[in-house]
């Protein structure tokens, strides 16, 4: 037994850190995505998920309810009516959760810059971890964005959900500017998870 070499542990390597490492590894390799397409961008997801580009390689798959999902994709333009549903779905998702803004429309309105019912900047209303540029982004770009998000999760930089809780009132104020009837039974005023 004495001949066997044992790995030497660093002095600051604790059980907690090991647990953290394992959870990060698990989180970044099993992203479940809420199967919810808000705009035309959802059409690019079908080639991305099927055999040619196959996002199951990255550990990604769809999930039916927000309670099981880790990742919310805002695919393309987001109308004010949909924004209400998106906020509600986002707040129901379990921590940790990530958001990807998909396409030009989420960045600055895109070709709907003069539309009366689509929002122009997504990150005023929900925190965005990664933006994928393009109108529409090709599946290669989508995969690149997802890989970037995985790296970010590994480096613990994808902390949009923490920011949302810390700056909750600021986000709510922005949301209320667009959704004027933002209370009552339809839309709770508090964080709703």
């Amino acid at each position: 037994m004495d001949d066997l070499k044992r790995p030497t542990l660093d002095s600051d390597f604790t059980c907690d850190m090991a647990f953290n490492k394992i959870t990060k590894w698990a989180q970044k390799n099993s992203l479940w995505l809420l199967a919810y397409g808000t705009g035309c961008g959802a059409i690019e997801l079908s080639p991305t998920m099927t055999s040619r580009y196959d996002w199951s390689r990255l550990g990604i798959r769809g999930s039916a309810t927000p309670r099981q999902a880790d990742l919310l994709l805002i695919t393309g333009y987001l109308s004010t009516k949909t924004l209400k549903r998106v906020i509600r779905s986002y707040e129901q998702m379990q921590d940790p959760k990530y958001v990807i803004g998909f396409g030009s429309c989420t960045i600055n309105g895109g070709m709907y810059y003069d539309s009366y019912n689509t929002i122009k900047q997504l990150d005023l209303y929900i925190p965005v971890d990664v933006y994928i540029n393009g109108c529409m982004p090709r599946p290669e770009a989508v995969l690149s964005g997802l890989a970037y998000l995985k790296d970010k999760i590994g480096d613990k930089k994808a902390d949009g959900w923490i920011k949302y809780k810390q700056n909750f009132e600021w986000y709510r104020e922005n949301q209320k500017k667009i959704l004027k009837s933002f209370n009552g039974d339809n839309m709770p005023d508090k964080y709703n998870w």
Partner: protein
């Protein structure tokens, strides 16, 4: 020797409704009928019950602010005659009111709610009038009217992202370097 079904329909309609403003052929198997707003319900009733126009394709609206009118357009189809029929009527833009046809086709309710929301046309007899259909929390004039300025509304209500800090025009940058990148 018989008339074609199109001519037959045209002649019959001219006989029954003396107040029709104009009736003309708008292409192959198509009729365009212009009539006064008071006749529209009786005309549609007659077409559905006695002339076999059983299918309501759609109801639409055109805004004419120069004439101060809304033009409501009904499109009906007959499968036995193979004719598409367009009924047009102009109503006052200040007080736009028309009889609902929900008793004939229940699906007309949806079109009528949409026109009410997008143009402000009121359909009498439709009990779901004023319901929110697509727009929620809307507080401006109906957005499909031509005097509604969409860009102005967007500027007022939404915040646009600021410019790039380095003022780089990204399209020019890409087009300059595109060939280099391709060679790699």
């Amino acid at each position: 020797m018989g008339f074609s079904k199109l001519t037959e329909t045209k002649v019959l309609l001219k006989q029954y409704f003396k107040d029709i403003i104009s009736i003309e052929e708008g292409g192959e198997q198509r009729l365009i009928i212009d009539l006064q707003s008071k006749d529209i319900t009786s005309m549609i009733n007659h077409l559905k019950d006695f002339m076999d126009f059983k299918h309501l394709s759609m109801i639409s609206c055109v805004d004419w602010p120069e004439e101060n009118k809304f033009e409501i357009v009904y499109i009906l189809t007959s499968y036995s005659k193979n004719i598409v029929l367009m009924l047009k009527t102009k109503i006052d833009r200040k007080n736009p009111k028309l009889q609902s046809i929900m008793s004939l086709w229940p699906q007309a309710v949806t079109y009528e709610i949409e026109l009410n929301e997008m143009f402000g046309v009121f359909f009498e007899g439709n009990d779901r009038m004023g319901e929110e259909f697509i727009l929620e929390d809307w507080d401006d004039i109906p957005p499909m009217r031509r005097d509604f300025d969409s860009l102005e509304y967007a500027n007022k209500n939404f915040k646009f992202r600021d410019e790039r800090k380095d003022k780089k025009i990204i399209r020019e940058f890409i087009s300059e370097h595109y060939d280099e990148w391709r060679k790699k």
